[in-house]
Amino acid sequence: MKVMPGYAQQGVAENDSALLSVTDKKRLLREMLYARRFEERCYEAYVERKIGGFLHLYSGEEACAHGVLEAARPGYDYVMTSYRDHIHAIKCGSDPRKVMAELFAKEGGTCKGRGGSMHIFDVEHRFMGGYALVGGPFPLAAGIAKGIKMKGGDEISICFLGDAANNQGTFHESLNMAKVWDLPVLYVCENNLYGIGTRIDRSTAVQDQYKRAAAYDIPATQVDGQDVEVVYAAAKQAIEHVRSGNGPYFLELMTYRYRGHSMSDSNAYRSKDEERSWLKRDPIHILRNRLIDSQDLTLSEFKDMDKAIIEEIENEVIAYAEQSPEPAVEDLEKYVLAENDPYVHGGAS
């Protein structure tokens, strides 16, 4: 773990495995495996043309969302992210069936088929959206934090974005304002080393992203994003900092996506050797092997879990998405503006 000089974080690496119980770890393993199978099923559905548009998959990065949100209060804290958003929504409490139905463009989807893969919203579970403009959520998350602060709640605002988003102006504008106004916002940088198809060293002057937070005097940490226990431990400290009223925090997670940037990506910009080296550090395998080593899990139990998940996704998630109706064409113009707002006509008075 690297820590910015002056922002010493202690005890994260040493006590990682002590923080989560075996039950929690097994649940997290299942959740991450579910996320992987969900995303891989999306891949198939895209090939089958059940899912349209652009599709950005999270496979390989599962430990990031799961580790951070495990340390937060999903459904209570406000969360937003980019277009790679299915798994964050599910971890916040969204019904996977509704997420899949949204990808299938159905009325039963989280956004009634109006949003699509890049725009999952589930306000009931405080998943405040997937956004398709790189860096777009930075100021929105700071704004949610401003609202929390005004209302006096102890929620925090969590914004997940990739490394490439940090080259947008919104990164700098938002971190500056978050610090000036001491806003309760946690910025989580999922550094998967590529901005679409351009490797970070070809696009970015400072490659360690946590260092960039120092420009705004925001404490920052960089940790392994493939080990969910490491992510959890680092996130716990980061979240405690933010929730205690100490202002923003920046957490960088080193990770890798197995699929291309989106489904239309040839992946030609990465070497097979590089991909293989990251596959050896698969977040699901890391946790699985640790649980097997500690004799808390057997390989056959894991395989049964995997089989059950695949069946559950097929029988419940895909079936729901298939059966859900499409939105009615007569409703095309619904949701453009608020309905029956009295102030449009000069108020109720």
């Binding site: 956004y131 700071a142 704004g143 005004m150 304002m177 102030y343």
Partner: protein, 328 residues
Amino acid sequence: MSQMMYWEALRRAHDEELSHDPLVIVMGEDIGIAGGTYKATQGLYDKYGPERVIDTPISENGYTGLGIGASFVGVKPIIEIMSVNFAWLATDQIINTAAKVRYMSGGQLGAPVVIRSPGGTAHQLGAQHSARMEKVFMGIAGLRVVTPSNPRQAYGLLKSAVRCADPVFINEHELMYNMKGEVPDEEFFHPLEGSEVVRQGRDLTLFGYNISVHWCLQAAEVLSKEHGIEAEVVDLYALSPLDREGIKASVARTHKAIIAEEAEAPVGVGAEVMAIFNEECFFELDAPPIRVSAANVPIPYNHKLEKAAIPSARDVIAAALSLFPGKH
């Protein structure tokens, strides 16, 4: 009814809304301690404090996005962008987020923000301080655009915009903040849709909005006194949605129409109103309608060139007279 200046009317609306709801905030460059470039928030920093009357860094896209994010959790931000020319930088958050979030979330989330900004050509401010953007915003689904032409509207439109659940862009004008006019003493909320007949006349309709309403009124007086032409003047204070029915009804009364705008013609307010003339009033028209617009140039610094670029009441009069060949 009291006489007050346009900026005073805005200040009163800010004050009342801040007082009415603790979740109303005002944000912008120099709007706090300095009281706003055009004094629309004068004294409110002292009254409501720095958490609610917020001096922002010069980061237009950033603080506009921050206001939009705050609106997701119940805050009602009034965002002042000091000059509309700077709002180009905030179009990402205004257009990509505020205007679209309700739709793409399937109605779950709205962005009830107000964005106020002066556009228009003042006095020799040069090309990067003289633009108008209402033509851009009025073409974006999910965004309301209003533009007050007098202190009464400045007050009442801001009041309604703050209470409305939709994002509202309020287009003001740098030259109009010191304009005086009557504002009712009791609280009132101006409709965010519709148009207003501000002068009645049977011979032609002059459509204007914001500053061009005043050119139209001046032109109507001259046309009446010197040429015996009675012009109806219609104030299009709502640019999105535009009042199709109001436009249609006026043209049905007068059968001749002019739309005056301060901005350049291409893809503009006038272009849109002309399309409505065509779609709604084709068989009502006795003559081809006319657009009075600015020259299609970046606004020049030189005073003579600047004046030549921007239309005035004289251009509206000339356009009107061309519709009455016998009356020159």
